[in-house]
Amino acid sequence: MSGVRLLVGTRKGAFVLSSDGRRSSWDVSGPHFAGWEIYHLKGAPSEPNRIYASQSSSWFGQVILRSDDGGKSWDAVGNEFRYEGDPGTHQWYDGTPHPWEFARVWHLEPSLADPDTVYAGVEDAALFRSSDGGKSWQELPGLRACSGAAWQPGAGGMCLHTILLDPRNPARLHVAISSAGAFRSDDAGKTWRPVNRGLVSEQIPDPRAEVGHCVHRIALHPSRPDVLFMQKHWDVMRSDDGGESWREVSGNLPSDFGFPIDVHAHEPETIYVVPIKSDAEHFPPEGKLRVYRSRSGGNEWEALTNGLPQRDCYVNVLRDAMAVDRLDPCGVYFGTTGGQVYGSADGGDHWTPIVRDLPAVLSVEVQTLP
């Protein structure tokens, strides 16, 4: 029988949650790498037992781990992320030039076809690629070259947190960077350009600037990779032309601030967000934890509350902490800064806490296993 494996990164280690296809009973393994911040773990689509993990700490820096047996054992691989050439400067908070400094890996995105090829999105924002299973990393410097000198960090750091690979066109990649925006390459990462037309951000001097928008997350459905959904700092946005233009689809959401956004595995127009009250108040409106689902690709949203706390709930759901499985019905999962991981085996109609008391959850990924 098929099953699912959740890869959960937290402030103090990684956890692997496993279930069969019913998704009603879960085995919890961990903490792995106890005490370390695990920003992200992700399995290779072409070889599910190959999993990469980003492990870091203020004391000991960045470590990249690799498992070849589905998370049972791990080995450290390469952890040197050296910017290509003279990295130059970006804008600092006060507008002065600031040298590019590597801080950590926020997101790992294995290639769709080759388990030894994996992309890493890092802070200070840049994109790296490994073609040898994580042993060595090379920057794709064309991204920073396109406008990096003008980027400025947001409160959470200047991080590259989203990497989308186009299943129909291996040469096309999208990335998103906090306080900089969305960027696209059509030549496998060699050259890049901003794709932020239609984004409006009142928090920056020119609300319609080419770069400077605080994009929190972008998602796509593999059957329609030109349709992109974005959760921005404020506003939920949609593009039907690969990012060339965006339009707002926040509709009737109680707040259009939030972090994650994801797409149903079998319904490309069904999308999920978790509204958060505001940029200053990182918790759900009214103390009610609600996932909102749109079955029309945005604008019309319904609250999903069954099984979620509807009073006194003041957790956050971070940008990489939501994922969907490929089973039918589609499973939806998200983790909170309060340490809960909630799952729904019916597309969001009913929710159950899989675990309640983990450290703050930074990321949730799902592997659907044969």
């Binding site: 370390w36 004391w59 000991f60 820096g61 960045q62 470590v63 040197e80 992320f81 400094e101």
Partner: protein, 98 residues
């Protein structure tokens, strides 16, 4: 023979059960010790010294003979008791929460 005591997170990372013992060719300095340690256990690269600056990471401390030698400099000679293996060279995470 020099004895090096690593903090638990780095022992786990490098899959080391206890203290590390290593020999240095030439002058016994912090830099030579870290060079030898990283050569022996490559997974420790970047965790004690920053990859880019080659300097001790800010929240890593070196203790030896009951003294914080973190600011002695990477080229300072190790205390005789450390160089002769009578006392360990201790690498630890700075006292900090989080």
């Amino acid at each position: 023979m020099i004895r090096v005591v690593l903090p638990a997170p780095l022992r786990t990372l490098a899959k080391l059960p206890g203290e590390v013992r290593l020999d240095l060719d030439g002058k016994a300095t912090q830099r030579a010790l870290i060079d030898a340690l990283e050569a022996l256990h490559p997974t420790l690269r970047g965790t004690i010294r920053d990859h880019a600056t080659r300097e001790r990471r800010a929240y890593v401390r070196f203790f030896a003979c009951g003294r914080d030698v973190s600011h002695d400099g990477l080229d300072a000679p190790l205390p005789d008791a450390v160089a002769e293996g009578r006392e360990p060279f201790v690498v630890l995470g700075a006292l900090a929460g989080g």
